[in-house]
């Protein structure tokens, strides 16, 4: 390819383990093709580190097409980097300039304990989902398809909330390390479907309680989460969560 190769200066958070001290380590990556993704640039750097006999930088990734929610890097203070609506695996080096210096840090939140370098444990999200982010279905013969009609508008809106890939950028970006957008998205999604109806009240209470038990902060409506969300999920999910919560408290009689 005729494109001019770039040199990128990195400061990357290196930390050997959960209780080990960490630091920002400087690296210079030469020969970066502008069509590489941000993660491919890290692959290149890691290959060179391995050849030099150094420990490669640990980071999460899986699908590399913006749908699994594994990748998680904070670039110059912004989770997933500067481009709207993309996970860092889909961020391309052409958005940067030759000679740029970039600081890369892991998701920062007590509820996401650091495992190594840029890898954090996002199990807290799984536990929030396990607390109520599901619908219970009896086993047995499959129900008739289309036996539960869903209005088109509700179905579309629910899908916008269901688009969450659980990456945790919302928490990472939030000045309060709040998990309100993640939790709200799941509650909003299920609140719009008839299948979500039976467990509606206990779901919102249980999920909100779990979110707090995991040590996430309160929401102050900064709205930074919506800006960094690779699926651009609206903070109206958080508004829906609050309405659902109030309804559940007012209406519940058990």
């Amino acid at each position: 390819m005729a494109d001019k190769l770039m040199t990128i200066n990195l400061k990357v958070w290196r930390q050997d383990g959960p209780d080990k001290p960490g630091r920002l380590a400087p690296y210079t990556v030469e020969g970066v093709n502008p069509h590489m993704s941000f993660l491919e640039m890290f692959d290149l750097l890691n290959e060179r580190l391995i050849l030099r006999g150094e420990e490669p930088i640990e980071f999460d990734s899986d699908c590399r097409e913006g749908i699994c929610g594994s990748c998680s890097m904070v670039i110059n203070g912004i989770p997933h980097g500067p481009h709207r609506g993309t996970a860092v695996c889909q961020l391309h080096m052409r958005h940067y300039r030759d000679g740029d210096t970039l600081t890369v840090e892991p998701w920062r939140a007590n509820a996401f304990p650091l495992i190594k370098d840029l890898v954090v444990d996002r199990g807290a999200f799984d536990r929030i989902i396990a607390a109520g982010g599901f619908v219970s279905v009896n086993t047995g013969s499959a129900p008739d398809a289309n036996s539960l009609p869903v209005e088109k508008a509700a179905s579309d809106a629910a899908f916008d909330f269901a688009a969450c890939i659980g990456c945790g950028a919302c928490v990472a970006a939030c000045p309060n390390a709040s998990a309100s957008l993640f939790t709200g998205a799941k509650i909003a999604h299920l609140s719009l479907y008839p299948q979500g109806e039976p467990e509606r009240r206990r779901r919102v209470i249980a999920m909100v309680n779990q979110m707090e038990a995991e040590g996430f902060g309160d929401c102050s409506n900064h709205g930074e989460c919506e800006a960094v969300c690779p699926k651009q999920i609206s903070i109206s999910a958080i508004a829906i969560m609050r309405r659902e919560y109030v309804k559940a408290v007012v209406a519940s009689n058990d």
Binding site: W13, R108, N176, N221, A239, Y245
Partner: protein
């Protein structure tokens, strides 16, 4: 769980706390609107208008004191929850970032949203001074009495106001505090609506802009009065 403890745990949950911040926020903003409307009576030509307004409010007797106490409780509850939200947020991220950034719109993160705890704490100090100065300031016993044309005597609150703002130091203090209140409201008015779940995605940009305008109007009105009184000495 019985009903009381269930309600208590709901109100102290993350969502409950936020809803309470929103409710107290709405009450305080409504109070500010009523407060500035009353204060504007200082602007007219009638030097008794402001004092008559004060006497009118006190005329409600027990109800007036009840509203006053309610207002005090609202402010204290609002401040208490605001401070606990800030403390919890500090506890939720022990290891911070080396570099900070904001991705920009649609983020509503701003200097206002990040300094709510500072502008709020200044408000707490300001409100204390303000209440001591005016609500518990010199009364009729100290000679602050205005006699109306029909002979009735009422508390001369206008005199306290004019005397206070004849000192440039107090003008600076009030203007400075209200400027910070403006910042508190710039994020606050939008935020309280979102806290109460009153937000549709399409409306959020418009509401954010309208909230900004209301914050400017409120702050500007409260800033204008002390300056005007300082230079005009109040209504004729």
């Amino acid at each position: 769980m019985n009903n009381q403890s269930r309600l208590f745990s709901a109100l102290t949950s993350q969502v409950g706390r936020k809803v309470l911040t929103g409710i107290t926020g709405v009450l305080l903003v409504l109070y500010l609107i009523a407060h500035i409307s009353g204060n504007l009576s200082l602007l007219g030509n009638d030097p008794t208008a402001f004092n008559k307004y004060g006497a009118f409010l006190h005329g409600f007797g027990k109800l007036f004191y009840l509203v006053e106490i309610g207002l005090g409780v609202t402010i204290l509850l609002h401040a208490y929850i605001g401070i606990t939200i800030w403390m919890r947020k500090r506890a939720a991220r022990k290891q911070g970032y080396a570099v900070h950034g904001s991705k920009g719109a649609p983020s509503k993160q701003s200097i206002s949203s990040r300094t709510m705890i500072i502008t709020g704490t200044v408000m707490l100090v300001f409100i204390t001074v303000h209440v001591l100065q005016f609500r518990f300031g010199p009364g009729e016993a100290e000679g602050y009495v205005q006699t109306l044309s029909d002979g009735t005597k009422i508390h001369d609150l206008r005199r306290i106001t004019v005397e206070t703002f004849s000192h440039i130091g107090w003008v600076v203090f009030y203007v400075g505090a209200v400027l910070l209140l403006g910042f508190h409201l710039r994020h606050g008015i939008w935020s309280m609506l979102q806290s109460l779940g009153a937000m549709k995605p399409r409306a959020s940009g418009t509401i954010y802009a309208l909230a900004f305008i209301l914050a400017i109007i409120l702050a500007a009105a409260f800033i204008f009065l002390p300056i005007w009184i300082h230079f005009q000495g109040g209504a004729a």
